[in-house]
Symmetry: C2
Subunit: 374 residues, 2 copies
């Protein structure tokens, strides 16, 4: 067998999430508990009745690519040949990393704490990875100086998730500007920025940045999973310069042929509705305020929740996050993800997903506070 595959662990997040019992307080898996809007699904089924369920072209339906490109309207990335529709943003990220980086020479710089898949994908491809950790003392705020200082001679791309899973922090406009200004000044081949925007519709600060608006070598990945409670639809995309998309589409084609046509129909109806992709924004904004209030009330220290649907809670000095998560599941019937799943820099913290109804989330926070008081 392939030693890289044998050597890679499965998802720790999913292992902890699997400890969930029917009556557990589930603050684990990053999956909305809202239901998808039936209207979009029914309209897509109408398309299936009319057209069957045929392959699309490898890159995805042309009218969907037009709709996505125009919706985001990133400068120089607003044409259909800037878009490839994928099997969720997971495949988008995989195809982008695999296409962009030459394992023989290139290195990926991952801004941590981070969703574990970026590093795992690079390792599976034999691509060298360098990690740069944002600091717990700063509440994991994005820190451009630290990112720039971590760039090595082989670094060809930097992956940044903002709003961030797990930290909930958002890359502020001033930090983003400082980052791209410095990158533009560097001699030699430009370094690419991969911006994972999957929590774009869970943004609770005005001061943010879309890297694709200010830096031409940006690749954006996104999906319907979090914005529209459609995690199981596996419908995502990447947006990038056409020369990169042209290469990446080949990879995507040999990997999965094309994205699910039913999912593409659903996406077409969502993007045809001006509010489609934003439909749950209000719910998340209200929920976030209630969660922050509950965390304060419980006296739990937490990193600022700028975006995403997570809150990171600091455990008492010396606590091991995996041990804590297991004890919380076994003794308090609360599922939360250990910080260690997202990098060493966030060991000693827990990631709470706060998508359950607010009473459940409050009860979970209460039990965690109780546990922390010992």
């Amino acid at each position: 067998m392939n030693p890289r595959v044998v050597g890679i662990p499965g998802s720790l997040i999913r292992q902890i999430a699997a400890k969930r019992r029917p009556d557990s307080i589930d603050l684990g898996l990053g999956e909305p508990t809202l239901r998808p809007t039936q209207r979009y699904l029914d309209a897509a089924m109408g398309d299936v009745r009319a057209n069957g369920l045929k392959y699309s072209v490898n890159a995805g339906m042309l009218d969907l690519r037009i709709a996505i490109a125009e919706h985001y309207g990133y400068p120089d990335l607003s044409r259909p040949d800037n878009v490839c529709v994928t099997t969720g943003s997971q495949e988008a990220m995989y195809v982008v990393i695999k296409t962009l980086l030459d394992p023989a020479t290139d290195e990926l710089l991952v801004v941590e704490p981070a969703f574990p898949s970026y590093v795992k994908m690079a390792v599976l491809e034999g691509i060298a990875v360098r990690q740069v950790a944002m600091r717990a003392e700063d509440g994991f705020a994005f820190d451009t100086e630290r990112i720039l200082a971590a760039i090595g001679p082989q670094t060809r791309a930097i992956v940044i998730c903002s709003p961030c899973n797990p930290t909930g922090r958002v890359l502020r406009a001033s930090e983003a500007l400082a980052l791209v200004t410095a990158l533009k000044k560097r001699p030699g081949e430009p370094i690419w920025l991969i911006h994972d925007e999957i929590y774009r519709e869970q943004m609770f600060v005005d001061d943010s940045s879309e890297l694709a608006r200010i830096y031409p070598q940006t690749i954006v990945t996104n999906s319907l999973s979090k914005s529209n409670a459609l995690t199981g639809l596996r419908l995502g995309w990447f947006i990038a310069p056409a020369s990169l998309v042209e290469q990446a589409v080949k990879m995507h084609g040999w990997l999965v042929s094309c994205a699910d046509t039913f999912g593409q129909y659903v996406a077409r109806h969502i993007f045809a509705d001006p509010d489609g992709i934003h439909e749950h924004v209000e719910w998340y904004t209200e929920q976030r305020d209630a969660v922050v209030a509950a965390l304060r009330e419980a006296g739990l220290p937490f990193a600022p929740v700028d975006g995403s649907f997570y809150a990171c809670v600091r455990l008492p000095e010396g606590a091991n996050s995996l041990h804590t998560a297991i004890e919380l599941a076994d003794d308090m019937n609360v599922i939360a993800i250990p910080g260690s799943a997202f990098g060493e820099s966030i060991e000693g913290w827990l990631r709470l997903s706060w998508v359950a109804d607010i009473a459940t989330v409050r009860e979970g926070i209460k039990r965690i506070a109780e546990y922390c008081r010992g």
Copy 2:
């Protein structure tokens, strides 16, 4: 960029298929023109209404994996941990090849003529490929002696598509038995067989073999695409020894997280119906007889159509298949795929996909015969 991705061509099949005009006779892309059964889709939508569209576990829904494992009932591969549900059989094949073979030491043996993706996937992974061509003089019949003679010291797996795309030939029981008998006698690590069974429900001979019944180191890939006219659903699977599935599921998880949940619901309803996966068998059987009669009537030489929904037609001596396919598209308004898309051994032939209504297929055959007469 990754030179392996840059160096890989896109799909020649899709390039030729794209020459299709609205009034073309389309004998190109391998996609049923039958419509999927609405009942299964509606039942799946009922599941979505009840449960939303959530992630499944990485390997796929347990009850679906039970249903698939039991339906095929391959000896020692009939438990749910022998099954992983994937984004079509394309991703199944990719994950299997990537997991099974170590690029540093292992070689994949591809029995040709073959669907081009096996070789492309291996090349993208840096896995050495050896090809063994079945002979045009034999109508591309599977020839165990040739396959065995092609095994090299590094060969770790052999990929066989039966019923075969493009040739339409089926691996006969006697040839299969000879193959596995010889493989079992070999000293050292066993060689794996990867059996692509995607045309299993288009089988027109009684004398066939399922390798998973007679050889323990067999991996089967399949999907709903061809059996149920669901190419756009992207719902496939692989069936393999649990120790391999355990590793491959990790790869699958980091690549796409899980298969589409709507598609998994559809599959669950199809497998719950004893005739579900066989629903189109009769149509294909009748169509095949009509196509064979039309080819004979047109006086076109063709390889025996044992299975699949293709027929391979031999062009006049010296004709170039790509040139012919382009001329047929441009001058006769008929789309057919050049043999060269499937390996050098089938250069000088065309692959006809015969899934259109029979009048259209007949007209296409007539025009090709006319073209061949010059």
